[in-house]
Each structure stands twice: as structure tokens, then as C-alpha cells.
Assembly symmetry: C2
Homo-oligomer: 393 residues x 2
């Protein structure tokens, strides 16, 4: 088939706050392949800027809008998706935002292809099975250790066997206060819970400051310390990894190409590589990172803080890797992230989930949910309307 249309839907909560909650807005992508066939994807990035990168005028031969490499292309198999991805990477090399935009388009291409073929995406990735994953609840640290304790208890009461605590006050006060938070999280999760800690790049590239938190993390039995540094601070990652005994480093959500992920494994020494298919260029490059991680003894983990469409898309790349067990699960997203899909990846009796055994990514769009949060946007250049929010039936 031929790619006939690509439409972007920018959704947002009525009020967007400065908390580190990525589910406050969303950018949905619908790709039409003719004959009524459509696929859906989601970008995990600024909606307005990502739309602009699809429709912008060409600046020169390798600073072209993403649309140029996508519209009108053939889509008959996974090889076509790889070919289109390579064209975007080369023809838009000077357009930094391009990969964030294309990520959602790429997911929609896989979904479209899978629906036409009646196959799950993970099967098109040559996996035989979609294995169960153990979800962790992603929550923010409380402002006080007592709040952190309460949130951990809520997570446990909601049948989560693993919990990740992130951002909030960690790294902003002294190590002793941080320790109180780590221990509160441990207490709330119970002795057998898997404790994960995410500090959101707070230490920039200050290895010493991060290292002072290691003893408390070890005492609390944390499995990983996530994003102590800026996404590209490989030397800092590597130095801290060499100083940590039991606590492994995790990172990679900021990776916007496979090289960045590989460098985090090879030079940064991370034990867990966390990939957001909505940022790295979609499912294809995420699968290549999963293969690389498996070969290097690192564990692949999805990064997902938004919808169940994004969740399914982010499980596909490692659905068939049985030993890579842990997955991120958006525990308490904003209503929009739940309402624009009709179905959700509900946890089973063991509290586990798996990428659906259904065509494409297996998540259905709920048009009423899209309409409810749809943001009206328009971009005009030199008298031409390059983008206007489309209608959805």
C-alpha cells in the first residue's frame, strides 16, 4: 500500500503544571494507507514542536521536514519502515526535533502494517511469543519522607510488586534526607518489593554528589539508580558505575538514536537501558537496542509515562526477551492518557502484563476521548496553512 496521509492530534489537560508528569499532554499520529486502513502512534515530546518538524518548509537538502520522507511512500513490509526511517535520519539530519516527530509516525506505520496483515508487531519483529513482564508503578517522591511512605503503601496496595520513585526533593537537600526517602519507600513497598530510584539528572555530571547517595540506596536495597546525570554525560555514568557495588545504574530515556543507547551501555556502564519508543525513532531502533543490550548483558526496560498505546508500543521491542522482566507501567496518569484509548493493558492475577496478542499494537483509539482533550492549533507560513488541527470522526 501507499502512505496517503499522516495526521497529528495534539491533546492536553485543561491545566498543565510544572510537575514531572509526562501524561499532561499527548501527540497522537494517525497514518492512512488507503482502503480505510489506518494505524496509530504516539510521540513522547512537545506536541507543537513535533508537529512543526513534520510540516516545516525545507531549509536545505538535509534539513527537510519529516513529511518529505514519509508521504507517498510504499509500505508493504518491515523493510519499508526501515527504509523510510533511514531517509528521515539522513534527509533531516540538521532538524533536531525530527526523530521525536518520526517516533510516533514509525509506531503508526508498524500498527498499520500489523492490522493489514493481522499480525502483532512483536511477531513482525520475529519474536515467537510475547512474554509476561513485571510492571513497576512510577510515582514521584513525596515532599516529605512520610508522603513517600504513603505513596509506596498505595503502590503496594494496588498490587505492584515493584515501585519506582522519582524526582521530587532528591538531590536538592542533604544525603541524610534523601536516605530517609529511600528508607520510607522501602518500608512502604515491604521487604520483598523491588525498589527503583530515579533522580532525574539532578546531579548534572557531579559524580561525587551522586556517589554520596550510594550507601543509602544500597541500605534500602534499591535495584537501580536511574538518571543520576545528564543523558550524554557518559564519563560521569562510567565513573559512578565503577564505584557502585550492588546498585546498578539505569538510563536511556533521553536516547534519541541507537548510538546514544549503545554508548550508555558501553561507556556509561548502565545495567538497565530504558528506551522510549516515542523518542528513539520508534519500534525499529528500540528493537536494535534490545538486541544489543541482550548481547552485552544489560537488561532492556521500556520507558513509558503516558498512555497504554505508548505502553504497548514500548513493550513490543523486547516482548520476546523472556529474561528481561521489568517494565514501566503508568500507574496514575492524567485522565487524558487513559481516555483516548478504548482498551488498556490490565494486569493479570500475578500483577503482570504482556504486549497484546492482537494485530498491530492492539490498542484501539476512543474518538470521544481524543475530541475531549483536542487542542486547536494552526501554523501558517508565507500565506499557506501548513497545519490545522484535523477533525476526528
Amino acid at each position: 500500500m501507499k502512505i496517503e496521509a499522516v495526521d497529528f492530534f495534539y491533546l492536553a489537560m485543561p491545566v498543565v503544571t510544572d510537575e514531572a508528569d509526562g501524561s499532561q499532554d499527548a501527540l497522537l499520529v494517525r497514518v492512512a494507507g488507503g482502503g480505510g486502513h489506518v494505524g496509530w502512534g504516539e510521540c513522547e515530546a512537545s506536541p507543537l514542536v513535533s508537529i512543526a518538524a513534520f510540516v516545516c518548509p525545507m531549509s536545505h537538502g538535509v534539513c527537510r521536514p519529516v513529511a518529505d520522507a514519509v508521504l507517498g511512500q510504499r509500505l508493504d513490509g518491515p523493510g519499508d519502515i526501515a527504509r523510510i526511517a533511514a531517509a528521515v535520519e539522513y534527509d533531516s539530519m540538521d532538524l533536531l526535533q525530527a526523530v521525536h516527530t518520526f517516533s510516533g509516525v514509525e509506531i503508526a506505520l508498524w500498527d498499520l502494517l500489523g492490522r493489514v496483515r493481522g499480525e502483532p508487531i512483536w511477531r513482525m519483529l520475529a519474536y515467537d511469543a510475547s512474554h509476561q513482564k513485571l510492571p513497576y508503578a512510577s510515582v514521584l517522591f513525596g515532599e516529605t519522607p512520610q508522603e513517600t511512605l504513603e505513596r509506596a503503601k498505595v503502590s503496594r496496595a494496588n498490587r505492584f510488586r515493584a515501585g519506582k520513585f522519582g524526582w521530587g526533593p532528591i538531590g536538592r537537600a542533604d544525603p541524610a534526607t534523601d536516605r530517609d526517602h529511600f528508607m520510607a519507600a522501602r518500608e512502604g513497598l515491604g521487604p520483598d518489593g523491588i525498589l527503583l530510584v530515579d533522580v532525574g539528572q539532578i546531579f548534572i555530571e557531579d559524580v561525587e554528589a551522586a556517589a554520596t547517595r550510594l550507601p543509602a540506596l544500597e541500605e534500602a536495597g534499591a535495584l537501580w539508580l536511574e538518571e543520576p546525570f545528564q543523558a550524554s554525560a557518559l564519563e560521569a555514568y562510567g565513573a559512578l558505575a565503577r564505584r557502585s557495588q550492588k546498585v546498578k545504574l539505569a538510563g536511556g530515556e533521553g536516547a534519541h538514536n541507537i548510538h546514544m543507547a549503545r554508548h550508555l551501555i558501553d561507556f556509561g556502564g548502565v545495567g538497565f537501558i530504558q528506551i522510549d519508543t516515542g523518542r528513539i525513532g520508534g519500534i525499529g531502533p528500540a528493537k536494535r537496542v534490545a538486541d544489543y543490550a541482550a548481547a552485552k548483558g544489560a537488561a532492556f526496560v521500556n520507558h513509558t509515562f503516558t498512555s497504554h498505546l505508548a505502553l504497548s508500543a514500548s513493550l513490543q521491542p523486547y516482548a520476546g526477551l523472556k529474561e528481561h522482566r521489568i517494565c514501566e507501567y503508568p500507574f496514575a496518569p492524567k485522565p487524558l492518557a487513559l481516555e483516548f484509548t478504548r482498551n488498556h493493558l490490565e494486569r493479570d492475577a500475578d500483577g503482570e502484563i504482556a504486549a497484546p496478542n492482537a494485530p498491530g499494537h492492539g490498542i484501539e483509539i476512543e474518538p470521544a476521548g481524543v475530541r475531549k482533550y483536542l487542542v486547536d492549533a494552526e501554523i501558517r507560513v508565507a500565506g499557506r496553512t501548513l497545519y490545522r488541527t484535523p477533525a476526528i470522526d
Copy 2:
């Protein structure tokens, strides 16, 4: 003073083609500090997308528009610029385009500060002098070796002692044809000319394909081979660097943070690190790369394919490094890149240039040139106009 306003001016040639010529459009930034003081900068990136990254609605706490970290801030010294840059880096960490946008803003902040103080930017960077640089003409390879020869002759006839030939057919045909181009360039430059070759990432990460071109490059006496691979393909760079005897690798124009540049030096083994202040976040981070390169025995080179404003801004970070001699010089940019500035960095009797000994970057804006190429653009979200092309007096 306080940063009172930031305005973007999107310029474009009436027709933009797919040649690899970055001077076909431009994004100018004007920062107003009150009391009639203004500074000017230039982003080297897609104008529409970069504007969107300044004005977009916040997605969450670390996906904020660049404007949030800039407008209303104090600007009394270089430390304020570094503080604002750190805020952009952290608060917009999930907005990929942010650094491309901020690069032009940052240059304008230095210019504003320099004009208020009556100091050149290079002096505010603690350099004692602005040393002469040896410019090379950047031209594209011809479609045939004969065309390449003609272009090299033109470059020499224009008093360039160094010439860089880029893109075009190299890497698309067989190594023998590429050799003909290299030898034609050498013939046209003359035996004492400095020959530089830029292949624009054509080999993606194929080390063997790139290595087959090394003997001919050596035969032609090329000083460097630029961007054989994707900007992040550090392993490929490193592998090729180890296999090259005389020809050094050059790269870095795609670096959008100092880490990427450092990794190219440390892991990629480049001998020349090429930094575009309009992409890496501005003059501050480029200066940090220059310091790092000097310490590691690599040479710093500017990347500039656009205006003389961008040229001056890109010379500042290594103006005081006497041994770092070579500079890129936009030899035949499109008219817009020449017409929106009143003055230009003309070459002296020896064919050399230097960062001006004048306040700021020393380049003055020509309003008539801005008006001539100004593109009308408008961005509206949820009923509000977030951007509309401003007027220029």
C-alpha cells in the same frame, strides 16, 4: 539589566532547493535588554521548528518552552548567561529542539552584554587577543571531476590558501571516481593549497566503505576527512581513525551539547573538532569545547555555512587560541546571508580574518536586508497567537 524581549526573524530565499547549502534560510534573534540596548544572534537550524520551541506550551516540568528560562532574567555578566543556559538545559531536557533555539538566543545575550560593556565577546571569554585565522572556502564537489577542478581554481583565484570540498557525488559511486574528484581538487588548489574533504555522513557507519577512500585522500594530500559517518557513530569514527595514517578525521558540526564534542575527541579520535555555535548552545559551550580540544591535542575549527554574524559568533570561542589556525569561511552564500548584515569579515592582504575588535560580535544588522527576505509566519494554539513575525524598523 533585565531581558525584556526576544524576537525571532525568519528569513528565506524566494526558492529553497535541496542542495546542501545552509545559507538558503536563516533565523535571526534579537534580544532587548531595556534602555534601547539590543543584541543579535543567529540559530543554525530549521527556523519554524526553532521558533516553535521558544513559544510552545509547557508539556510538563522538564519539557518547557525555551522562553520560560530566558524572559525576565537578569543579565549583568557572563555568569548570568551560563545560569540561563543551565536552566534551559534542565527545564527543557525533553524538548529536543531547545538547544538549537537557544543557540541563537545565547549568541544574542553575549552580543547584548558586550555592547553594553563596550567589550568584544572574545575578551569576555578571557582571551587577551583575537588571533588571525586562515579561512578555507567551503564549496560543493562538482558533478564531474572537471567541475570540481573548475571550482578549486575559482577558490584559488579568490585568494583562498585552503579549500574544502563537500558532499556531491562522493561515496555514491566507486572509489576510483572519488579519487578523480580528490585529485582534481588538489590540481585546482595547487600543490601548496590546504585540501579538506567533507563527505557529509555518506557512509552512515560503514567503516570499510570509508576506508577504501583513504589511500586516494592521502595521495591527494588531504589534511582531513570530514564527517564520514553519522554524528553519533563514535565506534565507526574510532575504528577509521585507527586505520588512517596521515589523513585526520574531522567532525562535530552536529554536536548539540559539549558531551557529543568531547566524545568525538575521546572515543572517535577526531583531530579536528568542528563546532557550530548556532547549534551547540551558543558561545559558552563552544568555548568549553575549545578548551577541551586544546587540552587533548585536537584542533578547534568553526562550522559556519551561513552569514558573517554566524561567522563572527563562531570565531569567538577560539579567537585567543593562536595555534588553532584554520577557520571555515562562507565563500559563496546565498544573497540573503550577505544582505542582512551591514558589515562583513573581509579577508586581509594575507587572505586571513579575525574576530572583530569591536563590542559584542561586531556585526551590525541591516534592517533593509532583513525586511527583504522576511517570511511571514504565525503560530496559534487554543485561540492564542504564540508567534507572529515581528516588524523591524
